[in-house]
Symmetry: C2
DNA sequence: CCCAAATACATGTACATACATGTATTTAAA
DNA sequence: TTTAAATACATGTATGTACATGTATTTGGG
């Protein structure tokens, strides 16, 4: 569906303005599809993201700050997201040894397990709903990185 | 900044997967810049969006449902966003006349005023930070609309 | 005409963002 | 060495999303 239909207007100041809204809507669309897939696992998009980040270093632990650096949404309140994951026993939280200020986080077996099965679903989702070939995706990536050249 | 640096990884399954993350990040980046601009006006991104939508029909009123149809994020809880706008006296809420179930919303003079001045800032922002020319933006719009072809 | 279903909106809950502030620990300058 | 600044994280508040449910009004089949 074209963005004009999605938000029921064609009053864009120019093609660049339209691109801004198109990016915002596409992100919402993708996030919503992801949420629906994760619902069966009792995970949110953000919780899943944290689990994936932890998997990247597993079996090493990671401190909260390093997890935050790798989040897509940089204002994520990582300690609070970890609270939910601890409640569900998907990660363990411990005091840092080298640096007492740090809290170090590690995936549990349950966390690894739920991550493995949910990742299968998420990969399928991405393969199925993102209607782009590799070459088009490359062009898209270049344009998105160009649009962000002015780093606010 | 390339998405690899942003989320400190280069483990993408393929270029399409990377594009998905790039879209999510770019949307967050744009939304954050918008938030900062709107902060001076005491508005959130979503409140501003509702004001703009109302402006599209002004001086006509709009019902809550029609506002919702035009929102970028389709799960927005429009009644609640309107609550804040009513508190700030930027819009007026009235019982619908033709259909008693409806609530009709209209911009106030204060709403028109704050919308005018904030829109100047937002337009400047878009012109300044979105580093794309019209032709590139057109390509980007086409790719974003293509990626959404499978309407979840 | 009557009443069940549909519709429009409000409201409640869990979780998240955006941001300010508090607390404990480490670092580094005097 | 002592202590102020910086750092890492936790926590509090306002606002928003995602979704379920409640309430009032309208619609439509019998």
């Amino acid at each position: 569906m074209k963005i004009e239909q999605v938000i029921q207007t064609n009053k864009f100041r120019n093609e660049v303005h339209k691109a801004g809204l198109n990016i915002l809507y596409t992100a919402w669309w993708l996030k919503t599809a992801t949420y629906k897939e994760l619902k069966d696992f009792g995970l949110t998009h953000e919780q899943y993201n944290v689990l994936r980040i932890l998997k990247g270093k597993y079996p090493q632990e990671m401190c909260v700050k390093d997890i935050g650096y790798r989040m897509i949404e940089k204002n994520s309140n990582v300690p609070r997201i970890i609270d939910r994951l601890v409640d569900k026993k998907l990660v363990k939280r411990n005091q840092g040894e080298q640096d007492g200020r740090q809290t170090v986080i590690q995936l549990t077996q349950a966390g690894l397990k739920i991550l493995a099965s949910s990742t299968i679903k998420i990969n399928e989702l991405y393969d199925n709903i993102l209607s782009l070939n590799n070459k088009e995706a490359e062009t898209l990536n270049n344009l998105l990185e160009k649009i962000r050249e002015t780093e606010a």
